[in-house]
Amino acid sequence: MNPIERVLKTMEGKPVDRVPTFCAMVEDRTFNEVLGKPLISQEKLMRNPLARFILDRWGRKLPKLVFQGEVNRALEKRIRAQVELGFDSVWAILEGSFIVIDSKTMVRFTGSIFNLQPDGYGNMTYMYRGPAFKSRDDFESWPYWPDTDEVAHSAYKFFKKIVSKYGHRTCLFGQASAYGIHESLLWAVGFEKMPIWIRREKDLVKRFIDINEELCFKTNMALLDAGVPVIIQTDDFAFKSGPLMNPKLIDELFGPSYRRIIKAVHDRGAKYVLHSCGDNTLLIDMFISWGVDGLHAYETTSNADIFKEKKLHGDKVTIIGGVGVDYLLTDRSKDEEVVDMVKKLIRELGPDGRFIISPVHSLSSIPAHKLRVMVDAAHKYGSYPISIS
């Protein structure tokens, strides 16, 4: 059975030869360990006064000319590294939503500000700094709203290439420049102010949701046109102790968009996976009612219980995840501990299918070696029928 068949049949609840594996993306440290380090590290490059001067002076004008090409090359490396690590399915992401402002700042075109900073391993990464919209005026005068057709077109071109290179070796879970509608709103106005915006700025919130729905819809369709078999969408709906908002309100605000998008994905014969951080226990039924085929939504540092979830919803949705990135997939753990967890997950979640073993998240601290240990153990112990004592 090839990886694509293994993953898609699992998501349809059909028998497969073994528990499939999914890689929740890899960051620069990990792909450098797999593919080899660059001659000059990104951090070193960014420390160069000339590079900083150029970014500070012309940062805003450079992205389309210089950065997007570089970014696309790095993103392709991420995909290649995941494939070379031997995963059955990989998170293939195109990131075209950032605009560099200066050597320390980037903005996402849907209204959020990020720090550009070292990741502690010689590479550069980004971290959320805060909202761009503090008032109606900020929203109305935002200069970076995306041309959704253009974004979708870039997504198509990028993924056409990715599918031709890797689409026969792995099941691609694709996402392109569009982040979750809920989390994009959260980033754009700031979580502390989001409830107020929802209460007092209903028209703007509606417009924001419409823009992001269109962005997700068009990019998803572009990915499907390029041959991607599974759409994956990040949208963090929960904190470690539960949903950020009342599930009913989440459904009212975001449910119609997700239902429309997922229906269109299904109409084109593809699958839809939702990634959400935190403890989503109270939201799972709602996600299933939206039509998701798989959920990568069981963060190990939250109160979510993946074992209980398999019993409750394992017949309706494919459970993806299980391997923690807070300890197991770090330099601090022992290989045996990773193997033991893989065995436990396969033993308890593997029977009856609809389970894909995977890291619960990506993180710059994940060593490639630990991912290899995880994949090897999944291959060794994951064959059906499961027989781990």
Binding site: N115, G120, M127, Y128, R129, G190, F191, E192, M194, P195, I196, I198, R199, R200, F239, K240, S241, G242, P243, L244, M245, N246, L249, G278, L282, T301, S302, V325, D326, Y327, T330, L363, S364, S365
Partner: protein
């Protein structure tokens, strides 16, 4: 209990952001003192919201909204208060540890503590241990809340604990941790005093420390 005080409680409980101003003004018009409105209306309303949050009826966004409702009421009340009437429950330093810039959780804790009468000194994000202890020294704050989301930055919690020890202040301060990557175990491992999973836990912990101080 006067109807209007119950209306304040109810406005906070039902997260009535648009109605709270009128209700508080009505209370003042009826001759209720700002202190009584805060004690019997606002504080008790917040208790109801906290209980509903713990029982799963309210969510994080509702806690924030309750804080906003209080924020809407406080300027009206403060205007009518005599200087020195408002008694603070004490000073709490809040900071996201060095190396981490996530602040949503910290800000929510700050909002809940402020709404409950604590004086919050928010040092922001990526805060070095030395700055936290310097602030404790200069302001006299003895309660410290540390937030961390990134697993890779948890050792910054230990830095704060060690810095307080080196400064000879370890017995004088209480260090409480919270955030996505923190746990009870981590709290012990890092030598902190308490771990709060939610903003309401944090409020309870700081209230307890204040009571035993």
């Amino acid at each position: 209990m006067k109807e209007s005080i119950l209306a304040v409680r109810n406005a906070i409980d039902t997260l009535d952001l648009d109605g709270i101003g009128t209700i508080v003004n009505q209370c003042l018009k009826e001759g209720l003192s700002p202190e009584e409105i805060i004690r019997e209306g606002i504080s008790k309303g917040l208790n109801i919201v906290g209980r509903k949050f713990e029982e799963g009826e309210y969510f994080l966004a509702d806690l924030i909204m309750a804080g906003e409702v209080v924020r809407e009421a406080m300027p009206i009340l403060k205007e009518k208060m005599n200087p020195g009437d408002a008694k603070s429950k004490g000073k709490v330093i809040l900071a996201t540890v060095q190396g981490d810039i996530h602040e949503i959780g910290k800000n929510i804790v700050g909002m809940i503590l402020s709404a409950n009468g604590f004086e919050v000194i928010d040092l922001g994000v990526d805060v070095p241990a030395e700055k936290i202890m310097d602030t404790a020294k200069t302001t006299g704050a003895r309660l410290i809340g540390l937030s961390a989301l990134l697993t890779t930055m948890v050792t910054s919690i230990r830095d704060v604990v060690e810095t307080s020890r080196r400064a000879g202040m370890r017995d004088q301060v209480k260090i409480v941790i919270g955030g996505a990557c923190t746990t009870e175990t981590l709290c012990r491992e890092m030598g902190a005093d308490a771990y709060g999973e939610t903003a309401i836990d944090a409020l309870r912990i700081f209230n307890d420390y204040r009571a035993t101080a």
